[in-house]
């Protein structure tokens, strides 16, 4: 047991650096994919056929591509186009591009839970598409969107570990460093698991709070 705690205390800085980068990567990709995913979701429910087609193509293309390929594309292929982007930024962009497709589908399924008559009544009052969406449909769709949205974000938090394969020092990269230092892998992996559990707890709490807050809204 002493050995187990020693692994953490002896390598504290590495754990701190790794998990700090994981949290950074997560926060940037969370905000980015929420914005991009909402835009894509709005396209998929819009009355303009070209926008609907674009949204559907994006989702089908990106959702069916393995995340490692999206990473490889951004880390190896994009710099070849003379775009100056470092590994950390590439990883954030790759996660955002990939997660947006899932966020888009969560938004779309949430919108579909709102009765068609709500949007129809709003249009009959003379509201524009943007007003119908932001004033009437999305506020009522939020409640249904919370549980699947949290699943998407928890999956994304864990997906950040793929960045380790592309030279980004985050939590997923810790085992390789520890192997070089000759630390016992079993203890290392347990500590990383505990770290992720701690990171996921606030997300679960947030889900509880939002579900409770929006329960009365109907």
């Amino acid at each position: 047991m002493g050995e187990f705690f020693r692994v953490l205390t002896d390598n504290g800085q590495l754990f701190v650096d790794g998990f700090t980068n994981t949290v950074k990567l997560f926060l940037i990709a969370a905000v980015g994919s929420l914005v991009l995913g909402t835009l894509l979701g709005a396209m998929r429910v819009s009355p303009v056929p070209a926008l609907r087609a674009f949204g559907a193509t994006y989702v089908n293309l990106v959702r069916n591509t393995p995340l490692t390929l999206v990473f490889a594309f951004l880390v190896f292929a994009v710099p070849k186009l003379d775009v100056n982007i470092d590994y950390d930024d590439s990883a954030a962009v790759a996660l955002t591009v990939y997660t947006s497709a899932f966020v888009c589908e969560v938004i779309r399924s949430g919108v579909n839970t709102v009765a068609a008559g709500q949007a129809e009544a709003a249009r009959a009052l003379g509201m524009t598409f943007g007003q119908v969406l932001t004033l009437i449909v999305l506020p009522q769709a939020l409640r249904a969107m919370v549980p699947p949205m949290m699943s998407v974000f928890i999956a994304m938090l864990k997906n950040t570990t793929i960045a380790a394969g592309f030279s980004v020092l985050e939590a997923g990269a810790i085992p390789a460093y520890m192997a070089e230092r000759g630390e016992p892998q079993f203890a290392v992996l347990l500590w990383i698991t505990i770290g992720f559990l701690i990171l996921i707890l606030p997300l679960v709490a947030l889900q509880r709070i939002l579900e409770r807050k929006w329960r009365v809204a109907r």
């Binding site: 009355p47 709500q118 009959a124 003379g126 109907r218």
Partner: protein, 251 residues
């Protein structure tokens, strides 16, 4: 109640056709509604009367023909269409009050967001309208806390808050318990006598008889009869209308 109309008609449909796939739901329908006129549309289910009503504010796009409102052809989409819809009030069978907004917010949302009115002014007029339909004391409740009849009266107030040039009613009492039909029809009757231009799709023959200027009878997507209520109910010309009336008036 004859000859209330003055000047050019407010709503004109000319040779309107509409298909849902192979189904011909509106078959060469032409109709004009004058300012201040109350037109009641009746007919068996599936006759196209709801589609006709919904086509007037383009909630249902038509396949061919033209519809003009207040001298202008209906815009196809975008801002001009939104503007037209803001001038035509619509009341639905299923009320469609905004479930996440209070009764008062339901009535003031359109004026504030679409007409860009000051919230205080919109609120004042909203409360006056709620008072007129007899629900002022429920202003801070949510739609689900009201009875069907109350909800439908709020829906009428919501449409009136936009100060529309005409009102469309798509079977406004069909989803109501029988004892609540009267309170909604009372509000509609008072609107009609105030001179509002109204197109009303309904099965309420009593309302058609006493509040309508004209009765339109539709069957199989066609406009079969267009007559005054007395003429239509006492002396229908078509076999289709005679058959329909014999089925609903014998009970």
């Amino acid at each position: 109640m004859d000859d209330v109309t003055t000047g050019e008609p407010l709503i004109v449909l000319d040779a309107v056709n509409k298909w849902f796939g192979p189904l011909h739901v509106l078959d060469d329908v032409s109709l004009s509604v004058g300012r201040g006129e109350v037109v009641v549309v009746i007919g068996p289910s599936g006759s196209g009367k709801s589609t006709l009503c919904r086509a007037i504010n383009r909630l249902e796009p038509i396949s061919s023909g033209t519809i003009t409102f207040d001298g202008q052809p209906l815009p196809a989409e975008g801002k001009p269409l939104a503007k037209l819809r803001s001038e035509v009030g619509m009341v639905f069978q299923s009320f469609n009050l905004f479930a996440h907004k209070t009764i008062l917010e339901n009535v003031t949302l359109g004026p504030i967001k679409v007409r860009k009115e000051k919230p205080a002014a919109a609120r004042e007029r909203g409360l006056a309208l709620l008072d007129r339909v007899g629900i002022a004391n429920q202003a801070d409740k949510f739609p689900a806390q009201l009875s069907g009849g109350q909800q439908q009266r709020v829906a009428i107030a919501r449409a009136l808050a936009m100060q529309p040039k005409a009102m469309l009613f798509d079977e406004p009492t069909s989803a109501l318990d029988p004892e609540m039909v009267g309170e909604v029809l009372d509000v509609m009757t008072s609107l009609a006598s105030d001179g509002m231009t109204m197109v009303v799709v309904t099965h309420e023959m009593g309302f058609a008889r006493h509040a309508a200027n004209r009765v339109i009878f539709m069957a199989d997507g066609r406009l079969v009869e267009d007559a005054s209520p007395a003429e239509f109910f006492d002396n229908p010309r078509s076999e289709r209308a005679k058959d329909f009336l014999s089925k609903i008036l014998t009970h």
